[in-house]
């Protein structure tokens, strides 16, 4: 195929259709775009965890058949445009305030599945108060917390979750805990609160982890029906652009540096098991 044909979408699709018509038959399909994911280009950088999390979230909503009963809230951060991709009713919220907005929605529509989708700058910095009190009240919502250790949207500033020694535009010589404080393990913190029901830390940097994260999301939505408290899922993620790495490098870096500090696994399970 020549270069022109490659960038010519129509031609490309036509070729694809002719060449693969036999393969793409319903009985052969093993991988499909979830219906809850809208057919539009995403703005996330290549290799970014946000895109993966969106996809599995959409898959869970599809598989549970709850598209008409779920309402999402995403505040400011790279995921501010999440509503462009997820075909569900959705509210954007102010920086840090997603869990308060989600509380408002859940309180007036208690039958709906309500979730917030927040970055670390959002949830663990400007929105610390809202996060802790939402969890402490035990709001029956799911909080999805994407921890990439940095402010993505504003161009790579230090977050509360930035690792010691980790460089960012506002810690250019590496985070010095003596002057900049320690990384905040907010997930462990909220797990201590009686209002949280299910707290887990997952990642999406490898297929196996993607599957585990998906299961956790599904479990959290199922638990929301029990009205027993807040489900909180931290997803340790990457930010190849601001970490200044290729997607693959960033996943290696995540495994070697983020995971020792933010170990994966369940922190609090329903019925007091942990």
């Amino acid at each position: 195929m020549n270069e022109k044909a490659l960038i010519d979408d129509e031609h490309f699709e036509h070729t694809l259709r002719c060449e693969h018509a036999e393969i793409i038959s319903p009985e052969n399909i093993v991988y499909e775009k979830p219906g809850t994911l809208l057919d539009v280009d995403m703005h996330y950088c290549p290799g970014c965890g946000h895109g993966v999390v969106h996809r599995i979230l959409a898959e869970v909503i599809d598989e549970m058949g709850i598209q008409s009963d779920v309402i999402g809230v995403a505040p400011v951060g790279c995921s501010v445009l999440a509503y462009n991709y997820l075909n569900i009713d959705f509210s954007e919220a102010a920086h840090g305030r997603a869990s308060a907005a989600a509380t408002g929605i859940k309180r007036v529509l208690p039958e709906k599945y309500v979730f917030s989708y927040q970055g670390d700058g959002d949830l663990a910095a400007i929105g610390t108060g809202e996060t802790i009190h939402t969890c402490n009240r035990g709001e029956n919502i799911l909080i999805l917390f994407i921890n990439n250790g940095i402010y993505g949207m504003t161009g790579g500033q230090m977050a509360p979750t930035t690792l010691p020694g980790m460089k960012s535009t506002t810690s250019p010589f590496g985070r010095d805990v003596a002057t900049m404080g320690n990384p905040l393990k907010i997930t462990e913190l909220v797990a201590l609160l009686p209002g949280t029901y299910y707290v887990t830390r997952q990642s999406v940097h490898k297929p196996n982890n993607v599957r585990k994260t998906k299961k956790a999301i599904q479990k959290a939505f199922e638990l929301q029906k029990d009205n027993k408290g807040t489900c909180f899922i931290e997803i340790v993620s990457n930010c190849p652009s601001n970490w200044k790495m290729t997607p693959i490098e960033s996943n290696h870096w995540l495994e070697e540096n983020m995971l020792p500090y933010y170990p994966l696994g369940d922190i609090k399970l329903p019925n007091g098991r942990n």
Binding site: Q67, S68, D69, V70, I71, V73, V80, L81, Y83, L86, N87, I88, D89, F90, S91, E92, A93, A94, R97, A100, A101, A102, T103, G104, I105, R107, V108, L109, K112, G129, E130, H133
Partner: protein
Amino acid sequence: MKDLQLMKGNEALAEAAIRAGCDAYFGYPITPQSEVLEYLSREAENRTGMVVLQAESEIASINMVYGAAGTGKKVMTSSSSPGMSLMQEGISYIACAELPCLLVNVNRGGPGLGTIQPGQSDYFQSVKGGGHGDYRLIVLAPATVQEMADFVKLGFELAFQYRNPVLILTDGALGQMMEKVDLFPQQERKFEILDWALTGKVKERNHNIITSLNLKAEEMEIINIHLQKKYKEIEKNEIRYEAIDCDDADYLIVAYGLVARICTKAAHLAREKGIKVGVLRPISLFPYPYEIINKLSDQVKSILDVEMSAGQMVEDVRLAVNGKIPVKFYGRMGGVVPGPEEILKAIEEKLVGGAA
């Protein structure tokens, strides 16, 4: 509960919220309006199933309002000056996302922590924006406990009619004082599914999105143009004021809220002395009754604006008068309520004596 009651302003407002079929109240205590949250906490849920939640801060309250208002329900919050300052970010988001809701500011004396005594020094914040960006609230200023109740109903109606937040701007004295109030009957809490609201995406429609974001400047400008058009529409239709003894007046006082009542007393005292004074009380502070004040300035010799502030609304009075006649100002600050005698003195000194 009987319809005719002797009630505190704050309680009348809370009772009116229940009767107006309000679905949810989110708030945080601050004097002099904590009775609203207290009253609703004991009265609301059992009677109508209304959600009442004490948030951890005003920032959380207003964002709970934002979330809940996005579902198309009747939602409100109330606070007093420092708390309102904390809410401004959220109010700006609500205004841009065009969500109907009712806000109440029981104004106290500022700036800063200030005092818990009544004030009117949040006028600029209330009518000129307050938060970031070009937006307006519909602002209603009650002068009686009766209006504290009535404006809750009116406020919700206007909020839904224009998909715009409505603010009741009152003060600590009106919030705390007791008066007779004739309460409107209990309205049903009925949930209408609005085509724009978050209710869960059903097959019959596209997904609904509540947002105040548009990263493209030209598109954000279109949103702004739309908002400004709406505000023009509101300015055309929703101007409210009360004109007291203005027909034969030689001098005019402009004042709002409780102060307008005190000024009416002062105007009576002036008339006893043969000085013909009328009082123009703006009820809607946005939209502002510029036209009637302009018309009256063709008739009277000069105008006195009286406020419990350093002079904030006086700028709007001057805009209305457009230089035709002198506009004087008399104000008390920091929570001090002016008395009728001192206002009479100001009338004599600033209007009759020094009309130049």
